[in-house]
C-alpha cells in the first residue's frame, strides 16, 4: 500500500468511526469547558455591572481588555487578544515551535488531556485496525487493556521530548542560531536560517514522533505488553519503510496545513470581535472537529500502512472475532484459507 492509498484508507476509516470522532471531540471539549467556565467567572467578576461589558459584548473593548490583563493572575493571564480567530492557531504553533513556557494551569490541563488521550488511543487504534465498530465495551476494553503499556511508552516519549525541548531546542535556537546570524543584517536571510533550524528541529521531533506512533500501533495491534519492545519494533518498522512512512507523514501534514489555511480564511470573515460570536464559535468548533478528524486520520492511515506493509500483510483486520482477541489474532482468524502447500 502506497502512502496515498494509506491516507485514503485512513480518511475512510476515520470517517467510518463517527463515534470515535465525537468521543474525542467531546473529550477535548470536556477538558476545556471547566477552564472556560472558570475564565467566564473571572470576566464576570471583573466586568461587574460596568458598561464596559456592553462594549465587550458588542465588539472588542481593548481598553477593558488591558485593564483585565493588568490585574489577571493564573488562568486569566492567558486571556490575551491573540486568542482571537486565527491568531489563536498561530500563537499556539509558534509558542510550541519557539519553546515558550506554558502557563501552569494550562500545562496541567494539557497533561491531563494527554493522559486521557493516551488512555483512549488504545481503543482508537484498535477500532481503526479492526475497521469496524467495536462498541463501547470493545473500545474501552481495548483502551484499558493497552493503557499500562501505552502510558509507559508515553513516559519514555516524555523523556525524549523533554530532552529535545530542554537541551536541543535552546542549543539550536539560542546558541547556534544566534551565532549563525550574529553578523547578518538582512532579516530575510535570518528568517531563512531560522526556517532551516525549524525544519531541523521538526525533523528530529517527527522522527521521534513517528517511531512512537508506530510503537503505539504495535502495542495495540500486536497486543504487546512491553513498551520497550514495542519501541524497538516501531523503530524497526520505520527503518524498513522509511520512504512510505515519511511520505504518509508529509501527506497528513499537508492536510493539516490546508485545514489551518482554510480556517485562516474563514476567521477573516467570521470574528468573535464582531457581532457574530455564535458564528465565530461555530466556525471555531467546526475547525476543532476537523482537527480531531485529521488527528484520527493520522492514526488510521498509519495503522492502515502498518497493516499493509507488515510481513503478514494479509492480516487485514475484519470481523467477526470479538474483543479481547488482538487485532492480529482477528486478522489471522479472518484470513482466507491457505491452500495446500
Amino acid at each position: 500500500m502506497g502512502p496515498l492509498s494509506a491516507l485514503g484508507d485512513g480518511l475512510s476509516r476515520a470517517a467510518r468511526a463517527p463515534a470515535v470522532l465525537a468521543g474525542t471531540f467531546a473529550l477535548t471539549l470536556l477538558v476545556a469547558v471547566p477552564l472556560s467556565l472558570a475564565l467566564r467567572g473571572m470576566l464576570i467578576a471583573h466586568l461587574g455591572p460596568s458598561l464596559a461589558a456592553d462594549a465587550a459584548a458588542r465588539s472588542v473593548d481593548f481598553d477593558w481588555w488591558q485593564e483585565f490583563s493588568a490585574q489577571a493572575t493564573g488562568l486569566g493571564m492567558t486571556f490575551v487578544p491573540s486568542i482571537i480567530g486565527f491568531g489563536a492557531v498561530l500563537q499556539n504553533i509558534s509558542n510550541l515551535a519557539d519553546n515558550v513556557p506554558l502557563a501552569t494551569t494550562i500545562a496541567g490541563v494539557i497533561a491531563a488531556w494527554l493522559v486521557l488521550w493516551s488512555f483512549l488511543s488504545g481503543g482508537i487504534l484498535d477500532r481503526f485496525a479492526r475497521n469496524r465498530a467495536t462498541r463501547g465495551r470493545g473500545f474501552f476494553g481495548a483502551s484499558g487493556a493497552h493503557f499500562p503499556a501505552l502510558i509507559r511508552l508515553g513516559l519514555i516519549s516524555l523523556l525524549v521530548y523533554w530532552i529535545a525541548f530542554r537541551w536541543i531546542h535552546p542549543w539550536l535556537f539560542d546558541s547556534v542560531f544566534t551565532r549563525a546570524t550574529r553578523n547578518m543584517t538582512v532579516e530575510r536571510d535570518a528568517f531563512l536560517v531560522r526556517l532551516l533550524f525549524y525544519s531541523l528541529f521538526a525533523s528530529i521531533l517527527i522522527l521521534v514522533n513517528v517511531i512512537f506512533d508506530y510503537s503505539r500501533i504495535r502495542i495495540v495491534l500486536e497486543d504487546r505488553r512491553s513498551s520497550l519492545g514495542a519501541l524497538i519494533a516501531g523503530a524497526r518498522f520505520v527503518g524498513r519503510h522509511t520512504g512510505g512512512v515519511a511520505a504518509l507523514y508529509l501527506l497528513n501534514t499537508v492536510l493539516f496545513l490546508l485545514l489551518i489555511a482554510a480556517y485562516a480564511i474563514v476567521t477573516l470573515a467570521v470574528s468573535p470581535a464582531a457581532r457574530m460570536p455564535w458564528l465565530a464559535l461555530l466556525a471555531g468548533e467546526v475547525y476543532i472537529l476537523a482537527r480531531h478528524y485529521l488527528k484520527l486520520t493520522f492514526y488510521a492511515s498509519e495503522t492502515a500502512m502498518f497493516q499493509a506493509r507488515l510481513a503478514h500483510a494479509d492480516y487485514a483486520a475484519a470481523p467477526p472475532v470479538v474483543w479481547p482477541e488482538s487485532p492480529l489474532a482477528e486478522s489471522i482468524a479472518n484470513a482466507p484459507p491457505v491452500g495446500p502447500c
Binding site: T28, A32, V33, S36, L39, R40, G41, I44, H46, L47, G48, P49, S50, L51, A53, D54, A56, A57, V60, F62, D63, W64, F68, S69, F79, P81, S82, I83, I84, F86, G87, A88, L90, Q91, N92, I93, S94, L96, A97, V109, W113, L114, W117, S121, F173, M184, T185, V186, R188, A190, F191, R194, L205, P272, A273, A274, L281, G284, Y287, I288
Partner: protein
C-alpha cells in the same frame, strides 16, 4: 468658530515659519565643531580631529571645560551605563564578545590662541570626573581645567585628536558587519549654565543635552559606500587610498551623527505644504525594504505636516530618514535633521510599522531638535510631548492601526483586523503607565529614575496627562499652549518651569493643581461608581441614587451622568475632592446607567471599568462571548500538544 481657530493657527504657523527660516542665526551657535574623521573598517576604528570654538553664554566665567566621551560607557562592565543596565535586569555583557566593546581615547588636546599664536598642548590636564555618582570607573565625562577663565561672552578655541573604537551596537550607536550607525562618537562639550556645567555621565535610560552650533564635518569612508549624516552634503572627493571623503555642513543643530553602508538604497521626495516651508526628504533604505519607501515618506510627511501645523514649521529644508539594517540596534532614534526609523521585512498594512516609529522620530525634530530640552534631567519634555504628538498625528493621518503580533521568532506578523487600536488606549500607552504609575515622581531628574521603569514615567505618563489636558482644556487651547511654547523656546533649552508657565499663560488658567499631581507627585487617579440604584417610590416616580467614589489619591474634576430608560440623562459636575459623593434625582423614568467621567476626559484613570454601572448589566453576555472564544483557543492548544500522542 472652527474656521476662525484654523485661520489663527495658520497665521501663527506662517509667522512662525518666517521667524524660524530667517537668514540670521536661529540659535546662539556657541558650540561650533569642525571635524575630520576617518573610518577604518578593518579595525572598526575612527580617527578624528576636531576643532571646537566655544562661546560662554552663561552669566559666569568658565574655569574649566567638560566633555562627554559617550563611547566609554561601553568600555567595560563597570561604567555607570552598564551598571544601571544591569540594575534594570538587562544583561548586555553576557552576550558580548571582547570585540564588541567600545572606547574613545583623547590622544591630544590643544588650546588654540585666538591671537593666532602657537597651540598649547594641555592633554595632561584632562581628567575623568563622575559628577552624578562618583563612579571612579566611569569615563564618560572628562574635565579640562583652564589656565585662564573664559569670561561671559568670550570665546575659546581648542583642538582635539581622538581615536574611537566603534562598538557592536549599544544604545543605537555602533556597527554590525559593514553597516555603521555612528552617534555620540566625538568628544562633545556639555552645557554651561549659570549654575555651572551641565554635563552628566552617560546613563542607561536617558539621552543627551548640548548647545547649538555649526557643524562642518568631513568623513572618510570606503569608496562606494553611501553616507547619510546630519546636514547637507557639500561635496565629496575620492582619496588616493581607495576611500572617499564626504563633506557635510549644518547650522543651528546640537549634535551630529552619520551612517554608512555599501548597501543602502537612496530615495528622494519633497514635502510641500501651502503654509509650511518645503522639505527635501532623503531616505536611505535597506534593499529588503524597498517596497516600503512610500510608507516611510508618507509617515515623515505626516509628521512634518501635523507638527508643522500644530506647533510651528520645520526650518531646515531637508531631512534624512534612515532605515537601519536588521540587528543593527540603531532603529528609532532622533538626531538633528536625521533620524532612524525601523521596520521589518514583512510589514503588513494595518499595523503602524514603520509609520509609528517614523512619525515619532521625525516628530523629535520639533521636540528635541528645535526645542532642545535637557534629556538627562527632563526626558519627559521631549519624549512625553512627542509621544503625545505622535499618537495625535497617527490619528490625524488616519494610518490604519490594528493590533498586531509577531510569531515564529518575531519574523511572521499577524494583524488582527478586528481589533483597531485607538489613540486613547494604545497611542498614549495606558498599559505601561498603569503598571508603573507609582514608580517615580516625574519631577525626579530622569537619570535618577528607576532604570527598569523610566520609560513609563517619561513617555506614557506624559502622553496621558497631556491628552487629559487636551480633553480638559480643549484642543484649541492646548494647541495654543504648545505652539506658544514651541515658538518661544525654539533653539533654546527650556525647563519644566518654562513649559508650565506657558501653559498657565496661554490657557489663561492656573494649572498648578494639575502639575502638582502629575509632575510633582506620583498620585494615581481612579474614580468609580460605588453604588447605583433606581427604585419606584410612588406611582410614576423613580428615585435614583448614585454614589461616586474617588478610589485613587489623585484629584480631578469629573462629571457624573445618569441615563434613564427614556433616553434622557442628567449630569452633575463634581470637583472630585471628597472620597465620595452622593447624587440623587427623582424622575418618571427609571435609570438605566450611571457613569463617572462619561466623556473619558481623565485618561489617567487607571481603572476605567469601575467608572460605570448598568441596571441591566451585560457582563454575563460579554463573558460568555469571550470565554467561548478562549475555549476555541484552549481546544486548539490541546490539539497542538496532541502532536506528542
Amino acid at each position: 468658530m472652527f474656521a476662525r481657530v484654523a485661520s489663527v493657527v495658520a497665521l501663527i504657523a506662517v509667522l512662525g515659519a518666517r521667524s524660524l527660516i530667517a537668514d540670521t542665526p536661529r540659535s546662539p551657535r556657541n558650540a561650533n565643531y569642525t571635524i575630520t574623521a576617518r573610518l577604518d573598517h578593518a579595525t572598526r576604528t575612527i580617527h578624528g580631529d576636531e576643532r571646537i570654538s566655544w562661546r560662554n553664554v552663561s552669566a559666569h566665567a568658565a574655569t574649566s571645560l567638560q566633555f562627554h566621551l559617550y563611547y566609554n560607557a561601553w568600555r567595560d562592565e563597570r561604567s555607570t551605563w552598564m551598571r544601571e543596565r544591569a540594575l534594570a535586569g538587562v544583561k548586555d555583557a553576557r552576550r558580548r564578545d571582547p570585540s564588541d566593546w567600545a572606547s574613545i581615547v583623547v590622544d591630544k588636546v590643544e588650546m588654540v590662541p585666538s591671537s593666532g599664536g602657537a597651540a598649547v598642548d594641555v592633554t595632561a590636564q584632562l581628567r575623568f570626573i563622575a559628577p552624578d555618582d562618583d563612579n571612579t570607573d566611569d569615563r564618560t565625562v572628562a574635565e579640562l581645567p583652564l589656565s585662564r577663565a573664559v569670561a561671559p561672552g568670550d570665546t575659546i578655541d581648542l583642538r582635539l585628536q581622538w581615536t574611537s573604537r566603534v562598538p557592536r551596537t549599544f544604545a543605537r550607536t555602533g556597527a554590525i558587519a559593514d553597516y555603521y550607525f555612528i552617534a555620540q562618537w566625538f568628544p562633545k562639550l556639555g552645557v554651561l549654565e549659570d549654575a555651572g556645567w551641565n554635563c552628566h555621565q552617560f546613563h542607561s535610560t536617558t539621552e543627551f543635552f548640548s548647545d547649538f552650533g555649526v557643524y562642518d564635518v568631513r568623513l572618510t569612508v570606503p569608496r562606494n559606500w553611501i553616507v547619510g549624516a546630519t546636514g547637507i552634503e557639500q561635496d565629496a572627493a575620492d582619496e588616493p587610498d581607495g576611500s572617499r571623503t564626504h563633506h557635510f555642513y549644518q547650522e543651528d543643530v546640537h549634535d551630529f551623527v552619520w551612517t554608512t553602508s555599501p548597501h543602502y538604497l537612496e530615495r528622494h521626495e519633497r514635502f510641500e505644504h501651502p503654509s509650511l516651508p518645503p522639505v527635501d526628504m532623503r531616505l536611505l533604505l535597506q534593499p529588503e525594504h524597498e517596497g516600503q519607501a512610500a510608507r516611510h515618506f508618507a509617515a515623515t510627511r505626516a509628521a512634518l505636516k501635523y507638527y508643522g501645523e500644530w506647533y510651528g514649521p520645520y526650518p531646515y529644508g531637508h531631512i534624512t530618514v534612515i532605515d537601519p539594517a536588521w540587528q543593527s540596534g540603531a532603529d528609532g532614534m532622533e538626531y538633528p535633521t536625521l533620524f532612524t526609523a525601523g521596520t521589518e521585512w514583512i510589514a503588513p498594512r494595518g499595523a503602524t510599522d514603520p509609520e509609528d516609529v517614523t512619525v515619532h522620530e521625525a516628530g523629535h525634530q520639533f521636540w528635541y531638535g528645535i526645542v532642545a530640552t535637557n534629556e538627562f534631567e527632563h526626558a519627559w519634555m521631549d519624549e512625553g510631548l512627542n509621544t503625545f504628538s505622535t499618537a495625535r498625528a497617527i490619528e490625524a493621518a488616519s494610518f490604519q492601526n490594528f493590533y498586531s503580533q509577531r510569531y515564529f521568532g518575531g519574523f511572521i506578523p499577524w494583524t488582527f483586523m478586528d481589533l483597531p487600536l485607538s489613540r486613547e488606549v494604545n497611542g498614549d500607552r495606558m498599559a505601561g503607565y498603569r503598571k508603573w504609575a507609582r514608580q517615580d515622581v516625574q519631577a525626579t531628574p530622569s537619570f535618577r529614575y528607576w532604570p527598569g521603569t523610566a520609560g513609563a514615567i517619561t513617555y506614557d505618563k506624559t502622553a496621558l496627562w497631556l491628552h487629559t489636558l487636551e480633553r480638559h482644556l480643549g484642543w484649541p487651547v492646548l494647541q495654543r499652549v504648545m505652539s506658544t511654547y514651541f515658538q518661544r523656546y525654539a533653539f533654546k533649552h527650556p525647563t519644566p518651569a518654562d513649559f508650565f508657565a506657558v501653559t498657565n499663560e496661554a490657557s489663561g488658567q492656573n494649572l498648578a493643581w494639575y502639575f502638582d499631581q502629575v509632575y510633582r507627585g506620583s498620585q494615581t487617579f481612579d474614580y468609580g461608581v460605588d453604588a447605583f440604584r433606581s427604585v419606584a417610590e410612588r406611582l410614576g416616580s423613580n428615585r435614583t441614587v448614585v454614589v461616586a467614589r474617588r478610589y485613587g489619591d489623585g484629584i480631578f474634576p469629573v462629571t457624573v451622568r445618569v441615563t434613564f430608560e427614556d433616553g434622557q440623562h442628567v449630569e452633575w459636575p463634581w470637583d472630585g475632592r471628597d472620597r465620595w459623593k452622593l447624587f440623587e434625582v427623582t424622575r418618571a423614568s427609571r435609570a438605566r446607567t450611571a457613569e463617572v467621567d462619561p466623556g473619558h476626559v481623565l485618561l489617567l484613570d487607571v481603572d476605567r471599568t469601575n467608572n460605570s454601572a448598568s441596571l441591566r448589566p451585560q457582563a454575563d453576555v460579554a463573558a460568555r462571548k469571550w470565554s467561548l472564544a478562549w475555549l476555541v483557543w484552549l481546544q486548539d492548544q490541546l490539539l497542538t500538544y496532541g502532536f506528542f500522542v
